[in-house]
């Protein structure tokens, strides 16, 4: 019985992905057939040749990597402040950090657009990266501060008593001990940024073509085969990118800083 339910759940989760796969190899399937008369590689061969698609993958990855790095630099010290110190205004800061989860994304996106127009940051990669900070911060700060709370204040006090400055404590003590949390939060930030449509669309003004922008376009065009293949490309690139983030961070955040810096 339990096994049966598990299988159903797995089916429900996987069948839509399989549907994408099926459609991406079919020009046209007449109702009520489930399989096409013949499988076609046309869509995929077009895609592989498409310079535009390759460019959008690279743009997307660059932007989301950038966001992951910037957000780590912002949220790491913030999480330390929030989890290790008592200070006035802590509640307000927490509220503001969770605000993007509560404020409708349409409103934040529009607000950011107005602001960035005034600041002259629209239509640029930099602008898009900065704008993606807003929807990603809640996850990052929450994950990091949760882990920091588990580590406790003692580790910091011990390090200070032994003569380390705040910066040294962060680099020598927190970074290596927070490795799993940093990896998790970076992956999550990457994925959230990688999937952003509206903010990128408004701030990028159609000039910054990320994968979601392309994908949204083809969805609106409505060619099923095309959308299916684009969706698969999106999912595969997200998977590959997260795999590499894990590898890169896993290798570089390490006790070996101890010897080198």
């Amino acid at each position: 019985m339990r096994k049966f339910i598990s299988i159903i759940i797995v089916m429900i989760l996987i069948v839509p992905v399989l549907a994408l796969l099926l459609w991406s190899f079919s020009e046209m399937i007449s109702w009520p057939k489930l399989l096409p008369d013949e499988f076609s590689l046309r869509i995929w061969s077009d895609l592989i040749k498409s310079k535009e698609l390759l460019k959008s993958i690279i743009t997307s990855i660059l932007i989301s990597m950038g966001v992951a790095i910037v957000v780590l630099f912002i949220s790491m010290p913030a999480a330390i402040a929030l989890s290790q110190f008592e200070f006035k205004g802590k509640k307000i800061i927490w509220f503001l950090i969770f605000a993007p989860l509560i404020i409708p994304s349409v409103s934040t996106a529009i607000g950011m657009h107005i602001l960035y127009l005034k600041a002259g940051l629209t239509d640029s990669m930099l602008g898009v990266v900065l704008a993606h900070i807003i929807p990603t911060i809640p996850y990052s700060v929450k994950i990091l501060s949760f882990s920091l709370e588990l580590i406790g204040k003692g580790m910091r006090e011990q390090s200070e008593v032994l003569g380390a400055s705040m910066l040294q404590t962060i680099v020598y003590i927190y970074l290596p001990n927070l490795k799993p949390a940093i990896i998790l939060s970076s992956i999550l930030v990457f994925i959230v940024s990688f999937s952003q449509y509206l903010i990128t669309f408004l701030i990028g003004g159609g000039l910054i073509k990320t994968l979601p922008i392309m994908l949204f376009q083809v969805i609106q065009n409505g060619n099923r085969a095309e959308v299916s293949s684009y969706s698969l490309v999106f999912i595969i690139s997200a998977l590959i990118a997260t795999y590499f983030i894990e590898r890169i961070l896993g290798k570089n955040i390490d006790g070996k800083y101890m010897i080198n810096i």
Partner: protein, 298 residues
Amino acid sequence: MLRKINNNLQFKKSSIPYMLLFPLLILYILPLCISMLLILVQSLGFIPGLGLNELTLSYYMKAFCDDAFGSAFFFSMGCSTICSIIAVVLGFFIALLLSNSKRKGILQDILQIPILIPHFTAAFMMFLLLSQSGIASRIMGSLNIISDQSFFPQLVLDKLGLGIMITYIWKEVPFCALVIFASMKNIDDSLKAVSNSLGASKIQYIKYVLLPLCMPTMLNTFIIIFAYNFGAFEVPYLLGPTHPKTMAVLGYISYIAPNILVRPYTMALNVIITFMSIVLIFIYIKTLDSIKALEGQI
């Protein structure tokens, strides 16, 4: 290198947390607050660039009097409340399944798939499955249950928002399941042994021990996905009917409308959406709290 920086700077202890928050302040809090403020100011009819210089509440009046607005509010609220509740409840049961099964590896891995997929792609997948020419309809057609695709019930682009809700549920149940499962893992196994030794059946253990302990996580998860579903525009934009629209779609369409003079109206709409979202979340938190308090008394 680090040492030199360190020696040149000496701070009072109490200022350290504020220094640590400085990057957050500059790159996150300020932009967020300023952009919200800009929306607010523009919604009051103050856009000097368009020659609008007077503060007025008339745009709010206009928004509230609009027919589309009322139906949009109930449509958004209904859809997002229903599908968020379903997602959390199903998530709880799947988490239970996960915590009871030995080979949780595969199920757990597969549960992560929908998390990787953005909402608008999920919307398209549901379209592939559930539209009248979709896979479900084809299966029924092949089995001769229906003779033409037009007999298949309209599940996407429908007036009830079924397509929207199914997409949200498909995408969010796994998220809920994994989050709730993580909090279940933190619950001490010995609690199960204790309650068994006190004579509690398995279902009683779930009802009286596990569920209450998971409740805070479930409430948080509910609030998070509700807020998302209420405020995001992509899925209802792609899978929703032309009428009623959700609030978020209304806000977006009005923003990209070529007529720039509706700007203050758009902003008023957005302020209202934000406000509604916050109020609804506040109400839910309060209601759920009072339900919990009530349960405590029983």
